[in-house]
Symmetry: C2
Subunit: 497 residues, 2 copies
């Protein structure tokens, strides 16, 4: 042999071409950790909604990358000086916008460790513990929300992706040979239909677009006075489509719609799906975890008959983004749609394990289970139930204040932790456009306060909606009371102009 | 008003229903940080490939979730006792499998801070700094690899998703009204074709399945003796498909294929695409960053004429998973395919900013830019170039040892940091099946050593391939020499049985 390499090993020895050395990592990691402890403890120190204008953050940083290595102190200084003031603070106790997702300190530690391990769990062998901890924690979550044990779980990044995978499985189950032949130029293929309520999430539109079904494939079923899908209208729609030669592919019921958090009547919808043999997917991304609380356990009634259910721990389960869970009784169809093992990914143990790359479009998988496992153990089931119950109590409290005030009106029931309301000054003879203008200004004034951040919720029955969403671990009764005080104050101010 | 809430505020006050308190977080965060510093400094302490059997990890943990809160020390004890030994260690300097992705210590700190902030950058206003830092760091990366300034970047989780979005944009650009009408039952729609080489990544198969085109839409073009797409065969295939009434939709060229890291002739492919007006997507997920190194700058030649290019910082740019980047000159088509703003996500500044939710299927977006920004600043362009060049030097060195040894053969050129080889004991009269059996056993023996982890690469020209991939910040010449020593040792052992 021409080149005899040196066989000696120098375990742990630093190369000048290696990573940041251990002491430097300790020092800057420590600074980051201290900053975080302060930040989480005083997350109301910053205005909740960022006050920068478009382009401000980018303009404060160099337009070209650094040629030479920079000191990490300088990087962390810029982080504090430029990045933090340019953020909207999702940890602020006055964050009441969208769904008030809430990470937690145990979730931070979980992400920290996962980042250090930096495993890719595409195959079981590329990190057995990541694959198995995912299966285990999802079985814990399944037990906690009361789904039957026939449901297998898998983690994706977002509910949009969980739902996309559910609908891909439904397509695989409905359309013969779609994986091989696709949808183009197949003259004998019936038009497919996916059904959801008028209040369902926009991710469904994106999913039918991506799947090649087109937005016209999505049929939106009217809702009742409490924004719930009307199952008898669904049954009629399915019958009508069948009569017209179209193929119903899936029904998506929502447990906790985005605007009002209404709950579709899943048991009645499941009966339609069972009779018609249509894939039933339940979008419980936000509200599903509430099934852990005894008086909300019924919200997943009927889901034992569903084919798939999405629940997002990164929404209301104190787990850092991103982590969405798809539970399915028919994960075999997800695998049938996507499983595809090139030679270079074949492994000896393939028949004894599930390789995560087979359950979806993504080959690479982060170690997301670690943070969820730490969150579930740190708080315990009881601690989580108490926190969810408290958030729902606070929402009902806020709703009671709205109800009791002549100048405000509530626009939807409050089954969970979101209140839909608007200002409706007594005695004015305004039309809807005038109410909308007034409430738009009210929302702007509230968000400019820096103390609270609320979002609008589109319209319910033609009425402009302001939403107050509770879900943050740092939000207490005082913060909700302060929000109500600010709402009243700014409404009075605006009305007096 | 019936209920007068208490207006007083208690900033920073702890609720018994809140998060882990700050002191507890500091203590356990400190323990995690210390563990990580030790771990990264001695990542060769563990066997690189996990030694557990299927089911071991899960069986070591309770099957039911904890009812009560558990001490975080107990959780971290279990992490060390059960999880860590069940992992395959991607940080181990002997990790030579797949693409030897490498996170870095600055990337850990970036992920730590991002986890604490826990923002969702779906809209500009939901965290302006996250949206703008993404645009800025991707413009830095664009400059570093030498793409023209007409390319806009966006971050996704994986290359599979980046490529899916590129092909969705190509579909939008090619098929009239596909977003609204989809692909089903449109009799006048021509069959579409997507072209790639025989050596292209399996994510393309998954993408055409998902898009409703079917696997038959993917036409795999033969390669030359160095595993590069043959552009003249591509041109013929396009002409043939056009003549048959089919519609070419996209060509995917690869810069750094998965098995051999071959580089398709992008300039010639780009000429075909330009003449035929076909979307050109370049998969440079692994090798794209090598364009930073002067003597590799040419690898992205022709990409100025591409419509989209994917490069993965989480592969060979020392950035934690997940972070894949799609660069496109036609991000408007990605937005045309997906942009869809429900009422509740409308914001006043919509015409002045890009909202990340408009560039893709996912609504929620993690703050991925922070880690990349920290990595680029910590190492600096020069430091990154040096490390990439060193990895390529080590690969060439290993290749020279293979070439000089009579009992081994190299199976492909080494343009980057991956060596394809196999044992080929001199003087044996084996057929391909016998070589495969021998090399399969050799690979098993190597991976059982605990010192190295290599993967197979399917076959090249019918020959079973063992791959040695270098990309880890902790891998030095000693580790590569040790791998070669082990390869020779186990081959001798097996041959002598």
């Amino acid at each position: 042999m021409a080149n005899k390499p040196k066989p000696q090993r120098a375990p742990g020895s630093e190369s000048p071409l290696g990573d940041m050395d251990a002491d430097t990592f300790r020092r800057h990691g420590q600074r980051a950790l201290d900053w975080i402890a302060e930040y989480l403890d005083h997350s109301d120190r910053y205005p909740v909604m960022a006050r920068v204008r478009p382009g401000d953050v980018r303009a404060a940083l160099p337009a070209a990358p650094p040629e030479q290595s920079e000191s990490f102190d300088a990087i962390l200084d810029d982080f504090e000086r430029v990045i933090v003031p340019g953020l909207t603070h999702w940890n602020h106790p006055g964050f009441f916008a969208y769904f008030a997702t809430s990470g937690s300190a145990p979730g931070v530690i979980g992400e920290l460790l996962a980042a250090a391990l930096n495993v890719n769990a595409m195959l079981w062998r590329t990190s057995p513990a990541a694959t198995e901890l995912e299966a285990l924690t999802l079985d814990w979550l399944r037990q906690l929300v009361g789904l039957p044990d026939g449901f297998e779980g898998v983690m994706y990044d977002t509910a949009s992706m969980s739902t996309l995978h559910a609908l891909t499985a439904a397509r695989e189950a409905t359309i013969p040979n779609v994986r091989e032949q696709g949808l183009v130029g197949r003259g004998n293929l019936a038009s497919v239909r996916v059904y959801c309520s008028e209040q369902a999430h926009s991710s469904l539109d994106k999913a039918v677009i991506l799947l090649g079904l087109g937005q016209t494939a999505l049929r939106k079923i009217p809702v009742d006075a409490e924004f719930r899908m009307r199952p008898e209208v669904l049954a009629d729609a399915v019958a009508e489509d069948r009569a017209a030669g179209r193929a119903p592919m899936a029904v998506v019921a929502t447990v906790g719609t985005t605007t009002s958090t209404s709950v579709d009547p899943v048991p009645a919808i499941a009966r339609v799906c069972k009779a018609e043999q249509i894939w039933l997917h339940v979008d419980a991304a936000y509200a599903g975890v509430a099934a852990m609380v005894p008086n909300c356990a019924h919200i997943l009634d009927g889901c034992d008959g569903a084919d798939s259910v999405v629940i997002n721990p990164h929404k209301w389960l104190f787990t850092q983004v991103d982590l969405s869970v798809l539970f399915s009784r028919r994960m075999d169809m997800v695998r049938a749609a996507f499983s595809l093992t090139p030679d270079y990914l074949r492994t000896a143990e393939a028949d004894q394990v599930h390789n995560l790359m087979d359950t979806g479009i993504q080959l690479g998988r982060r170690f997301r289970a670690l943070k969820l496992w730490m969150v579930l153990r740190h708080f315990g089931a009881e601690g989580i139930r108490q926190r969810l119950a408290e958030h729902m109590r606070l929402a009902r409290l806020f709703a009671s204040w709205v109800d009791a005030h002549d100048d405000f009106e509530r626009l939807a029931p409050v089954p969970f932790s979101v209140v839909c309301f608007r200002a409706h000054p007594s005695g004015v003879g305004w039309d809807e456009a005038e109410f909308e203008r007034f409430n738009t200004k009210l929302l702007e004034a509230l968000n400019a306060s820096g103390e609270v951040f609320l979002s609008q919720g589109g319209k319910l029955m033609g009425r402009y909606v302001i939403r107050l969403a509770i879900g943050n671990l740092r939000t207490t009764e005082q913060h909700v009371a302060r929000a109500w005080e600010l709402v009243q104050h700014h409404a009075r101010e605006l009305a007096s102009r």
